[in-house]
């Protein structure tokens, strides 16, 4: 017994002594992210493979749920043991880290690779602070997609999905009369807000949307256009099923897959669910951007590179950034992720017909608007979520309540 223990200890000691020597040679990159679901981990694996092939060693640190992963990243950066790279959403999440000087600017890499010329200007701006790039955008997610079940539409006697919200409300009533749930919505604040923002962008137009969220303009909130969007949104409160409150987005998509519900407003990550269920775009389900394919709400993911003095780690960061943004890795990653490549100059013929619609709108700055998270701070976003969810869940709340709530939130958090 004693001999056995001793030999185990001895072999463990040898193992520890030998291990580091082998790993020293290649640039090791520890990457923190929150892509843990089936489709997501397949996507991040394409990056890992590409990095390993490029001569590095990928060390994967995945933490489920974005908030947890970001909290872990921030703790480690403050604690002085940052990872080589860490995932954030495009937007203001890493503002404070930039202000505190914890993140490495990557303008030099961007210049060398000519990245700024091939990326959408709005996303370059979202990754930059004072004109310098601090984060590497790696994909584009459209967030104002409407997915609909073709079978449900047929059952309600509709030949196609209406192109405006004015026609949409009566069409939804028809679905309801046919015994369907017209609107598949997961009653979580961020999903309720996503639906409202899609309506605001479609009905109010990009100008109003930007005035509200970028300029935090009180007059824009009190305008006729904003009120109309709120009224439309209010009418949709009767179009959901009683099981809606608290439901996750993927359980909600399941209603569409089973053809029990008409449509769902969501980001393009929904496609992964359809693919898993063996449903085909254009055959089983349809997709439109907004309702009329005219304006894409763009957001996505970025990686930031913490400031590290170790030259070996810097080399790993350089190699990692160049690998992630390379044309091949972009196509492979985004195909698996359901998103669109951040580069305009890659071959996109392999993407499905929904993604093609998005890619078309990405060609011009006029047909895209940034997502809410890029425009407002996390605390204002939270306050706006509170206002929207109170309106949505209280059938007796009037449009005035919501408008006043917005004004209040802007005053307190703006």
């Amino acid at each position: 017994m004693k001999g056995l223990v001793r030999s185990i200890l001895a072999s463990a000691a040898i193992g520890v002594a030998v291990m580091p020597a082998a790993a020293q040679e290649k640039p090791r990159a520890e990457v923190m992210h929150w892509w843990t679901s089936g489709g997501e981990s397949a996507a991040i694996k394409t990056f890992a493979d590409a990095y390993n092939k490029a001569g590095g060693v990928w060390v994967d640190t995945a933490t489920a749920v974005g908030e947890n992963s970001r909290a872990a990243t921030i703790n480690r950066m403050i604690g002085g043991k940052p990872p080589t790279a860490a995932q954030f959403n495009t937007g203001k999440q890493f503002d404070d880290l930039v202000t505190q000087g914890l993140i490495r600017p990557i303008d030099d890499l961007a210049e060398k690779g000519g990245w700024k010329q091939v990326m959408p200007a709005s996303l370059v701006a979202a990754a930059s602070r004072d004109g310098e790039m601090y984060a590497l955008p790696i994909n584009i997610h459209g967030q104002n997609w409407i997915f609909y079940s073709k079978a449900a539409l047929k059952k309600a006697g509709l030949s196609e999905l209406p192109k405006t919200w004015e026609e949409m409300v009566p069409a939804m009533q028809k679905m309801k009369d046919a015994g369907l749930t017209p609107l598949a919505l997961g009653g979580q604040p961020w999903q309720e807000r996503s639906l409202f923002n899609a309506i605001l962008l479609q009905q109010g137009g990009k100008n109003l949307y930007m005035e509200v969220y970028q300029d935090k303009n009180e007059e824009a909130v009190r305008s006729e256009g904003f009120r109309k969007a709120v009224e439309t949104y209010g009418k949709l409160r009767q179009m959901v099923d009683p099981g809606s409150p608290g439901r996750s987005w993927n359980d909600t998509t399941a209603l569409l897959i089973k053809d029990e519900a008409g449509l769902q407003e969501m980001g393009d990550w929904v496609k992964g669910e359809f693919i898993n269920a063996g449903k085909k775009p254009g055959v089983d389900y349809g997709c439109t951007i907004g309702l009329d394919d005219s304006m894409l709400m763009v957001g996505g993911d970025v990686f930031v590179f913490p400031k590290i003095d170790d030259p070996q780690q810097k080399k790993a960061q350089d190699l990692l950034a160049e690998t992630m943004i390379s044309k091949d890795a972009q196509v492979a990653f985004n195909l698996a992720k359901g998103s669109m490549p951040i580069r305009k100059d890659v071959d996109t013929s392999a993407f499905d017909e929904c993604a093609q619609k998005g890619l078309k709108l990405l060609q011009s700055e006029d047909s895209q608007a940034p997502v809410f998270e890029i425009l407002v701070s996390a605390s204002l976003a939270g306050a706006v979520d509170d206002v929207i969810t109170q309106f949505w869940n209280n059938p007796s709340a009037s449009p005035d309540d919501m408008i006043e709530g917005f004004v209040n939130a802007f005053e307190l958090e703006g």
Partner: protein, 296 residues
């Protein structure tokens, strides 16, 4: 005398590191939290002092006032309900019923489950699509309504119900231990005097169980203040913000909303509220009696 004092000193010396840890870990972090609540901290703590601005934001927020109201509703119903239910269960078991061991385990079992599991179970039970409501409606009672978790007027009571299910067993176990400790002579005496059993329970036994009741209230009150996991698993504060609780408000602002200043202000208000309510009461319950008795 001298030997005793020396021993005392060694004991104090040995305990010093622990006192240091306790002070740093509990009192120190508490003070730090209060300090941050007076700064403009967002994602990271900063030293930019803004006076009571975070508190103004806090009390201007509808969500905070709703969570505080909910904490009161939940606290009163949960503590009161668990005490009454737990006591009644203990009395029933104390009648030397058959299968007492089995029943005791059954009633105590929910307490072995975390609030997360409790919340999930009740979320399913109260889900209109697959829970009790659907089952009963399928039996033919089509007007039956039990979708509390998704009803904004009932969601807070859904939390109370799940909480009661979980905690009553613990109160029962405590009370049962107390009942078993009651002297047989008291029962004999009351029987000779011809006093009905319920009066003995209410006017003789309950006052005797007072220390146990205090313990139970303290334990239950702690779970009210820190109620977070149950809320997240059962309603996630919804529909809307109708079943939000202070602890969830703090967590949301601390992590998702990058509002450390506001979150610490809310935590400070919670601390003060709890201290204002509980400390005087616990003080009178524990220490006054101790001093009268002359021990310690």
């Amino acid at each position: 005398m001298a030997a005793q004092r020396k021993r005392l000193n060694t004991a104090t010396l040995v305990l010093l590191p622990f006192w240091a840890v306790v002070l740093a870990a509990y009192v120190g972090t508490m003070l730090w939290t209060v300090q941050i609540s007076f700064t403009a901290s967002k994602l990271l703590p900063v030293d930019e002092y803004v006076g009571f601005a975070q508190y103004e934001r806090l009390f201007g927020s509808t969500r905070w006032s709703v969570s505080m109201q909910n904490a009161v509703i939940f606290g009163v119903l949960f503590i009161g309900g668990a005490l009454v239910l737990g006591f009644l269960l203990a009395v029933v078991l104390d009648q030397r019923v058959r299968f007492e061991n089995t029943l005791r385990t059954v009633f105590l079992y929910p307490y072995a489950m975390s609030f997360i599991v409790t919340g999930l179970i009740w979320q399913w039970l109260m889900n209109p699509g697959l829970g009790i409501q659907k089952a009963v409606r399928d039996w033919g009672f089509t007007s039956f309504d039990f979708a509390w978790a998704v009803d904004r007027d009932m969601a807070i009571y859904a939390l109370v119900l799940a909480g009661l299910w979980q905690a009553s067993g613990l109160v029962m176990a405590l009370m049962l231990a107390g009942l078993r400790g009651v002297d047989e002579e008291i029962w004999k005496a009351s029987r000779i005097d011809g006093i009905p059993a319920w009066r003995v329970y209410l006017f003789v036994i309950v006052p005797m169980l007072r220390p146990l009741i205090v313990t139970a209230v303290v334990l239950l009150a702690i779970s009210v203040v820190k109620a977070f996991d149950l809320v997240v698993a059962l309603t996630n504060g919804g529909p809307g913000i109708s079943s939000d609780m202070p602890a969830k408000f703090v967590m949301d602002n601390l992590f998702t909303r990058q509002n450390i200043g506001l979150a610490t202000a809310a935590a400070t208000v919670m601390l003060i509220t709890v201290a204002a309510v509980l400390v005087p009461w616990i003080y009178t319950e524990y220490f006054r009696k101790a001093r009268v008795g002359g021990t310690a």
